[in-house]
Symmetry: D2
Subunit: 335 residues, 4 copies
């Protein structure tokens, strides 16, 4: 349940609410949501407690939300959330493509790609500075140097930047140099990291854990919202199944199912799902047709010589053609 606190409630009146919940043995958490203070309870309140609370000066209203992720729930915010940074926006009326190389390799590589994807219609630039690698012996990214390159290219091109952080320290570093912090699939249930994201003041692009249910995915987002950061972009990137012709199976129903449940914008990463360039365009079309608010796509000026994941990167030309078709699909489905 969500207890909405009056906008002008004096802070000292909140203690009474907390006491009342403690007496009723209800675990609860106070946070900011939609520009106001709210208190979210773990479980439902009985009628008596509700009545008591509603009489308190601080309490404006109490809303029953059946979903276990009340702040993410569409019931809480039927008008849906739009995340907006400069020209870039994802939300019910704003479709945006984030594109760029898997890994930041050099300023030249990033700048070239940035200019090409911008020309093709991308609104944001992706590129990894901290790389989660299965092997401790593999290239781990350019780290701070990579962040600086992203920042420089962003200043030159005007593109918004998105890059991954793998620890609380990295969230802070990324927040300084980039516009959006990405949380990867392997950290999708790294609750300490999600808590740090809740304290951050930049939007978070949260990937679904590759074996998480949609409920677990939304609960991960709820960690961030409960921490006070409402700017979360959900990103489906494929799940692990028995299939082998793709790296991960992209479930065609995930986007519409998430949008029936949550007000948060939902984008899709077709590149990591496919793991092969020749399926990326088709997966993008499927995603847009099923209602995705955006895409996160790997593009490399020279995929064959990419340091990482070249096999799944589009060339700028392929990307450009794909963007145009996506626009047509969006019109066809009435977005």
């Amino acid at each position: 349940m969500i207890i909405n606190i009056h906008l002008d409630a004096p802070p000292e009146t909140l203690g009474q609410v907390a006491d009342s919940l403690a007496q009723a043995n209800i675990r609860a958490r106070q946070t900011q949501f939609g520009g106001r203070t709210v208190i979210v309870t773990e479980s439902n309140l009985d009628e008596k407690t509700c009545t008591t609370l509603l009489k308190m000066q601080a309490v404006e209203s109490i809303v029953e939300i059946l979903d276990p992720y009340p702040l993410c729930s569409l019931q809480t915010r039927p008008q849906r959330t739009t995340i907006r940074i400069r020209d870039f926006a994802v939300g019910p009326n704003d479709f945006s493509i984030i594109a760029g190389p898997c890994t930041v390799e050099s300023e030249k590589q990033v700048l070239t790609t940035a200019e090409q994807v911008k020309a093709a219609g991308a609104k944001a630039l992706r590129g990894g500075a901290f790389k989660p690698r299965t092997s401790p012996y593999a290239f781990q990214g350019l780290k701070l140097e990579g962040l600086k390159i992203l920042q420089k290219v962003s200043r030159e091109t005007g593109l918004v930047t998105v890059t991954e952080a793998m620890s609380s320290e990295e969230v802070k570093m990324v927040s300084e140099y980039a516009d959006v912090v990405q949380i990867g699939t392997r950290n999708a249930q790294n609750y300490r990291l999600l808590e740090t994201c809740g304290e951050a003041r930049v939007p978070i692009l949260l990937k679904r854990g590759f074996s998480n249910s949609l409920d677990e995915f939304l609960m991960a987002a709820e960690y961030i919202l409960a921490g006070g950061n409402e700017q979360v972009i959900l990103c489906e990137r494929g799940i692990r199944t028995f299939e082998t012709y793709v790296r991960y199976t992209l479930p065609a129903g995930a986007v519409p199912a998430l949008k029936l449940t949550s007000h948060l914008p939902v984008i899709v990463d077709p590149s990591h799902a496919a793991g092969r360039a020749d399926l990326v365009a088709s997966l993008s079309y499927a995603s847009v047709a099923s209602g995705a608010d955006g895409l996160l796509v790997e593009v490399h000026p020279d995929p064959k010589h990419a340091l990482c994941d070249g096999r799944q990167s589009l060339t700028p030309d392929e990307f450009s053609k794909m963007v145009r078709i996506c626009e047509g699909i969006r019109k066809a489905v009435g977005c």
Copy 2:
């Protein structure tokens, strides 16, 4: 490998080919494909055997196909197959929607639905007469009576009919009364049934086994083609994964991956994948955007009172709206 036999090769010259293969210890199978006799070998031929065979009067050419399903392979027939019955066609230039109730309940129910889906743009009518049920105590379909209803409605509406067969005997019965024999997901590796389909002279709509790899799916189709029946429509219908918000996860990449591999037309059944009506339209859009040649959709005039699977059936109005949007998507992706 495929050994193409001369169109006018006297049958007695084929024995020589068989002898030569037997001597080389190569298992092989003779069948009809593309209007001619071909011999498909299990394994590759060595150069000496090839040379010997090519000198024989009966042999026109030998084609090396690396796929384990040579007759289904796109390498064998790059121009792709179109399945055509009266007005109905599925193939590279022909998109068709097959719609109708899960189960044939009565003549009135089928006729009403048929007229409604035809008006909305469906080219074929689906409806189960033999129903594969998990429980031996559940309703098993109207059987022969159901087939007769389908035939009558087909004559009145002109719609092509598609209905399932679960045994070799049923394949024969369905072939008499309906236009297309459907093989369900639970029989996707019922090889004796597939062999009977190979002998049938009607098109086969073959559903993917819900835990079959794409290779296993194509091998099932190969059983039918190897039996002499080239008219196979592949149907993706979702796979079993850990996900629970849908009955089966519809892999967004299956259609494009199949079309990169095989010349057979590929359609999608979004209804059985979703298992809930509110996702069927989105899954249909995703399927069409990713290149599906057609859809198989459950429509019921009164889903709440359907005998079976009403939860996943569209109303005729919902269906009609969906068909129009699918047409727009097809244009957008350039089909």
Copy 3:
């Protein structure tokens, strides 16, 4: 629900029961179970119908079974079923190992293996005459000739024989030549085949479909019991997951979970699960420790030269050592 009919109820009194159920709109099926006539209903009966039925001459008692597979349910037969053929028995007090080659290749191969596995403690011989093959071009088994070899070897060694049937015709053929009909994983939901097994008068070894839930597995067994054949051995053989170091993941909990639910004996096939010989013994030990009533193991006198699946076959020596350890484990777990 199960309606138990009096042992001496005149057949004509059953019509009254059927009429009463039809009036109440309850689907039901009459069969033989535990040496008597029973009527199984699809859904629960209301109190009024129960009262009416209990007054009828034919009805002895009505038992409410909550499981959707009432005849398989442990509630129906708490004392558990033992399947017994000559020396061979599987059940609560009888552990039996079925061993032999994947495929019947020749009389000599089968006889040699039979003698070796018998010496090591096997009570039954397995060997495929009809082989379900993914490819239509692969060796399909010796068929009738294979059945005759099995029968001959059975007569010489006294071993009970188990072999697969893939169609209703093959069930009849196998019933004539072998002792137990095996239904393979790919036919686990081939309901027409299961119906034929219900009419057969030999025990059925039913493998779990590699992506079937335990409920679907038991419902498949229920098809056979509902047909009048109570002699069903359940066989877990691994499920399809994302794992790749084995062909199929063998769930350590399947045997105990099945035994908490059903009275039917449960055995395990570690060979097809592992797909590699070096894990077969460990999977066997795990199965026995978790309560399996028997094992189905591939043994080949010369695995490297096996026509099929040699990679997963034990040598007779490995098998012999494994059997002794299994006996020790059974004692340790108190069987």
Copy 4:
């Protein structure tokens, strides 16, 4: 590849090795392993580089390991690793059971359980102080207070303690108060956390990610070994599949497959796999029979009133009976 450095090689001679690898464009990492300095390379060395290196004063030998996790590989250490803390040991000749409540609730609860599991044969005590919870509103554990309780109970009972850490800070805190740091399934690919574990000087109990392949699991362990900490206990705890009668499917083949590949000890957590108490004993027996070096089991003096996961906790009596049977199985399999 592993480059073994002479025990008495002066540190300054290592620069030459690094230079040579850098020139050959080979990524490498220096660490301590088996009491000596080693350099592990990401990829194989060509013959020329090998020859050059072998001539250097610092280099004793170069070992080619084909596995991508050279330090974990059984090839590197065929004699297998034993982890030993006071009375507790897990390894080829030492079987140990770690038992205790899911969550540290109070000193009394922990002390009672500790005494009971010790009496039954447990060698170590588990209990969560930092709890990874799907919901941000759920009880998150007693944290530092919980660690202090564990330490106190350990001092009173002599039991070794195992408890989870979810961040680098928590690894440090846990190292101070407990004997073994547990890394949970949701952090199995949290590489920054694994790096911290590499720097820790206490043993790490590493759970398999519930959708990680065995290779990914061993690569996670390799992160810890590459960081200089060889004391890793691998813990299988079940994987996510389509099955629903258990929380996670426990693969019967994981333990033997891991032991064929790695020298690290492997234990099993049957409690989190099953998610229900009535299967825990059977899963334990299966695990021990398949070669597990230990078990991690939830035991609660009063499961019905546990704060967390009571549904899967054994009572002390059930636990005691289970331990005795496990000992019998170990003898039967010849451990």
